[in-house]
């Protein structure tokens, strides 16, 4: 008999009175890192609450390793969960806190202390593990939560906005942890509303919008699909008009717009092709460039293309 997937949602809907949290979502996830992308109110938190057995689906079924999390706490032996809002015991040192939680998984005191020390070192808190959590920065607190989620070596890691409010060093550390867990064959689910964040960690994404599943699969494949849609490239240069003349007759470009004398917006239907000819044309024009941006390269634009005007 084959092992059931780590996460299975079968036609799951959840509504709160008149408000729809999740609308007919079906996914199965097993192994690797999967990013759950969506704007605020897209249904990410509802999805995680369903997975963590906090709420019951109005319709459909949720399974973690083949077990309904609403009926049984058994799957949580194999799950590490990091909630965005979950509080900690601020008066405890991180080693005490993580080992206390390890004991809630059934470890002995010695095992719990050994694993807590290792998990804290893994998230780069090994040198401050005897400091009270209340004295930690936001990024350090987030890493304590991740250490607490990893302490029992779970097969499934669920991270709700793990990078929220973290400084660059903490973000790098957390991203390394997530990638490492994914490379070890663990299933990692992480939510975010920032496309770039997810892009740095994984290629496998699930995009939710207004409770509906709007895209699922490889981020590059979704991007390639979107590249064929109209895109803008914003160039900040010293002479926008001189630069525009180099682009106007080139095939992937179908329009240019001057925002002011120093900002040029290029419209294209093939973003990859446009970017491939861009360096040569800029060099040829001799116009000094300050910056090149893709204003449509964010989650909001991605959603705009995926759901069209229905937003």
């Amino acid at each position: 008999m084959t092992n059931p997937p780590a996460v299975t949602l079968d036609h799951v809907s959840k509504w709160y009175g008149q408000v729809i949290g999740i609308n007919d979502v079906s996914i199965a996830i097993d192994g690797g890192v999967t990013g759950i992308l969506g704007m605020n109110g897209a249904g990410k938190s509802t999805l995680f609450k369903l997975l963590m057995g906090r709420i019951r689906p109005s319709k459909g079924s949720v399974r973690l390793f083949g077990t309904n999390p609403w009926d049984s706490t058994a799957p949580y032996r194999r799950i590490g969960y990091v909630s965005e809002s979950e509080r900690m015991y601020d008066w405890m040192t991180s080693i005490d806190f993580v080992s206390t939680l390890a004991r809630l998984h059934g470890m002995t005191r010695a095992e719990a202390e050994f694993r807590a020390e290792h998990a804290l070192s893994f998230v780069d808190l090994g040198d401050v593990l005897n400091k009270e959590i209340g004295k930690y920065s936001k990024g350090m607190r987030q890493r304590v939560k991740i250490a607490a989620a990893l302490v029992h070596d779970p097969d499934l890691l669920i991270l709700d906005e793990p990078l929220h409010g973290c400084d660059p060093l903490a973000r790098t550390s957390i991203m390394n942890v997530i990638r490492e867990m994914g490379s070890r064959g663990k299933t990692v689910l992480l939510s975010s509303h920032i496309l770039e964040e997810i892009e740095r960690i994984t290629e496998q994404i699930v995009i939710l919008h207004a409770g509906r599943l709007v895209a699922l699969g490889n981020l590059h494949a979704i991007r390639a699909m979107l590249d064929k849609h109209p895109h803008r490239i914003l160039i900040h240069c010293e002479d926008a008009r001189a630069l525009a003349s180099s682009f106007i007759d080139k095939q992937p470009v179908y329009g240019v717009r001057f925002l002011d004398n120093e900002r040029l917006e290029i419209m294209t239907k093939d973003l990859s092709e446009a970017h491939s000819i861009l360096p040569a044309l800029i060099l040829e024009s001799g116009v000094p460039i300050h910056s090149i941006e893709n204003p449509d390269d964010n989650l909001e634009s991605l959603l705009g293309y995926l759901v069209g005007d229905s937003r």
């Binding site: 938190s45 995680f48 609450k49 963590m52 057995g53 906090r54 709420i55 706490t73 058994a74 949580y76 032996r77 799950i79 969960y81 909630s83 965005e84 809002s85 979950e86 509080r87 900690m88 015991y89 008066w91 405890m92 040192t93 005490d96 080992s99 206390t100 939680l101 004991r103 809630l104 998984h105 059934g106 470890m107 002995t108 095992e111 694993r115 290792h118 893994f122 998230v123 780069d124 990893l150 029992h152 070596d153 709700d160 060093l169 790098t172 550390s173 390394n176 942890v177 490492e180 867990m181 070890r184």
Partner: protein, 335 residues
Amino acid sequence: MIESDGTASLGEARIEAAYGSGDGDDTSSATVARPMEGKIFEQIYRPWNGPLGPRWVRNYAIYRHHVYGIVSGSGHRRYHPFVRLLLLVVILGSMTPILMLLLSTLVSDDATGFLNRMWGVNRYNLWGNVLGYFPRNLCMWPLLTALVVGGLISDDRRNGTSAIYFSRPVSRLDYAAMKWLSAASVLAIVILLTYMMYYSAAVVFKGEGWSYIADTLPIFIGGLLAGIFLVFTYTSIGIALSSISTSRFTASISFLGYILGSKLIAWLIEIQFNTTYVYMVSPYDCLAHVGQWLVGLPSNYDHPLALSVISLVAMNAASLAIFASRVASLEVTRE
């Protein structure tokens, strides 16, 4: 202009704009620190394949977290030093009869002597050790319960820390049962253990034999049962009030208000209308009524014992129902 020569530190940088003494025509310059080379930190993950303990091991972890916190702040639930001090005072206070027993033994007070009547083992003293109103049920036990139970659930409700348990293989039943049990244990240690110590001390100090034990054991067990009912009832009411509050102060004050206030109202009605029926709303009086029957004392109440028993059962059932309902809804709508 920014230049980086890779040798100077940031401390040597000149910041003319802010602190310069020149006329502003000089070329501004700054020096940036050389970037560090190598890894920022090393992250090595070691898998763990050890077995995880069964349900009772997890439940014991919850239990010990709450109970051990009274004696050790490190790694356990935090109890305020004032609560710990008060617990010590209550324990010492509830052990004073043992000291008086020792005194009566030392001064060779005979069985009918004043000290022995006041502190020796008899029905009134065994009942009084658990259910005496002053100081035990006016000051010690309600205050002890309020301080121990007050923040047990309300702290989790206010801080959202119950999610710590529900994200792990801990069911709501386990969570509720262990919280209840840890509070009841603390009360039992103070109330029942000192009661048992008092009886044991009487036997040891007076050098009593088996016949004495055979005579007094039924009364002792009656008092012990009354104590168990008291611990059960106070814990249930206290934890129910804690579960409907987000402030330990409110929960504690509500508990004290209910225990002492219901007694006061019933007493005022008794002296005004000469009826004891209203004592049915007072948890203490219901326990005292049942306790008097258990140790074989004449009742102070006019109403039937059955009404006190029914009232006691109803109070406990209602408290546990409220507690269960509040725990069932914990963290369901948070986040």
